[in-house]
């Protein structure tokens, strides 16, 4: 789950970055609107956490441009302005959710998860696939009475594949959703996580498409 955080305040930005990582997200942090534009053009994100009061390109302009390009990327807006008029303006510009400073980190995380669920057409925080129930928030998979615990990255890969079931995802694409800019990508990390997932959940779940990547087939039953 790779998120883009756009926040110009160094202490707040650092706090949100670390807090979202603790919650299992992959976070890229940009400090102004122009860098955010660049990041959005080059990287695939699941969601944007956007502060409205940004230097250079304001958060509001960034949001309008994003929507003008036809992107339906979920955007959660952070702002110090709390009047109804400000909120309405934010929603009109294309925000999906709104959080007024100061906020609870737990609430931010919960809202991000809710937005991501909705973006994938789910309203409960669990993904069913055949006999498996994947709960990304708690990093667990249940099969009948059995509960299997996953690591954050294993869970991220599994969630990504299940949500894009029927589509093969490349190793690079999976890596991108696993690592932020500042994180060192281990060369065989994706293979290791796939291996671990197969060990925990059985070999038939994730298929390897040689030369392309990995696939979880469409749920036919």
């Amino acid at each position: 789950m790779r998120l883009l955080l756009v926040e110009d305040d160094p202490i707040l930005g650092n706090g949100i970055e670390v807090g979202l990582r603790q919650a299992g997200f992959v976070v890229d942090w940009t400090k102004d609107g122009r860098s955010a534009q660049l990041a959005l053009e080059t990287t695939t994100y699941e969601l944007v956490v956007l502060d409205l009061g940004l230097p250079r390109v304001t958060g509001m302009d960034l949001l309008r441009q994003l929507r003008a390009r036809g992107s339906d990327l979920p955007v959660l807006v952070l702002t110090a302005r709390e009047t109804v008029r400000d909120r309405v303006a934010g929603f009109d510009a294309g925000a999906d959710d709104y959080l007024v400073k100061p906020f609870d980190l737990a609430e931010l995380v919960a809202r991000i998860r809710a937005l991501l669920r909705r973006a994938h057409g789910r309203s409960v925080d669990a993904i069913r696939y055949r006999d498996l129930v994947l709960v990304p928030d708690s990093l667990t998979v249940t099969r009948g009475a059995e509960t299997i615990t996953l690591s954050g990255r294993e869970c991220a890969i599994l969630t990504d594949l299940v949500e894009h079931r029927g589509t093969a995802l490349s190793r690079a694409r999976l890596e991108e959703s696993l690592y932020g800019w500042n994180e060192e990508v281990e060369s065989n990390a994706v293979e290791v996580h796939i291996h671990n997932l197969r060990r925990k959940l059985g070999n038939d779940l994730i298929r390897t498409i040689r030369g392309v990547g990995y696939l979880i087939p469409k749920d036919t039953g």
Binding site: D9, P10, I11, Q22, D32, A80, V100, L105, A106
Partner: protein, 459 residues
Amino acid sequence: MKRFSIRGRLLLLVLGSVVIVWVAMLGASYDKAREEIAELADARLQQGARTLLMLDLKRLTRLVEGAPAGGGDRSGGERGGDRGGGGERDETGRPLAFQVWVDDGTLLLASAGAPPAPHPATDGYATRAIDGRAWRSYTARDERRQYQVTVLEPLAVREHPANHLAGRMSEVLLLALAPLALFVWFGISRGLRPLTRLSEAIAARSADNLEPIRLQPLPTEVEPVVAALDRLLERLARSLDKERAFTADAAHELRTPLAAIKVQAEVALAAKDEATRSHAIAQVIAGVDRTTHLAQQLLLLARLEHVEPAARQAIDVGRLAADGVARHADAATARNIEIALEAQPGCVLHGDPATLAILLDNLVDNAINYGREGGHVVVGVRCENGAAILTVADDGDGVAAADRERLRDRFFRVEGHAAPGSGLGLSIVEKIAAAHGGTVDIGAGLGGRGLGVTVRVRA
């Protein structure tokens, strides 16, 4: 301060004026009445004398019968005259005293009550003092029978009717004073009604309602007061709006640093490893420091808004700058910045040392924070055309010329900087400079790089 009532004052003025006019009128009437009474009485004297001349001596003698010639007993004589029907009476019923003289000056007859008056030298009217009383007399001469008749009357009796008249008139006017006062009182109350309405309109104004006072119709006397009040209300509303905007801005500005502290604290709480926790706690402390600084700057700005700098005194600007540089030497060293003072000696200005030190602190703070790591900051002091000029310049990244003027805006921050300040520093500098009648110019810094701020204050 002495309290007074317009109503009471007007009442007093009106009634006072009326009474003064009345007294003057009364005096004039009294004089006129006395004049006329005197004329009337003179005519009566003359009439009396003519009547007596028409009588023969025998009848005159009968008229004064029983009365001793010369009328030695004045008071008794008058009463005697009344009793005996003596003396000539006119239509008013008052007895007239008379004397009949033979041509050679011998007193022939005198009526009861006639004073021992000497022989009048001439005919006609005369006013004489006899035995300490003033008498008015008329003398007529009978050419045929060759004697004179003098009719006399004490002047005092003429006073009585005039005094009586004046007394009656005073009584009437005195009685009229009470209803007059009542009418004047009501009239003034009515006339003052616009003031009552005005006070109600003013009482309806509050911090939430500073609308101009629209009272119609407005008396011309009150118009300037209302106009001045409306101007005051307008100024008040404007300054209140500014204050509210500032408070709202300040509240918003505090939200981000507070959010940062909260998030970092939550991160520290949830941290599983010691490194993450201690980093987050360090960030919490940095956030509190930053918020404290912001709060201090806000307070300072709010205080500068209302307070004029304290007592001005002569300040050696070079000394002030040297102290300021010394205070920041540590911070400069921490960023490996070389800070220098280039002061022209003997530069003196009159001002408030406390706020000028704050001005300098803000400029040097900015220069060090936004200057280049390992760069230079130069504080300059010089005198020029009777003005003290203080410059603080750095050789950092500076601010684009287009954005320089925006630095004066409250809460405007240099973008993308690692350590954003309160965004109030230059606002504070401007406030203090303005309070000293000075100006602030923002330009390029050292060698065309960075930022240079010049403060010019009249010495």
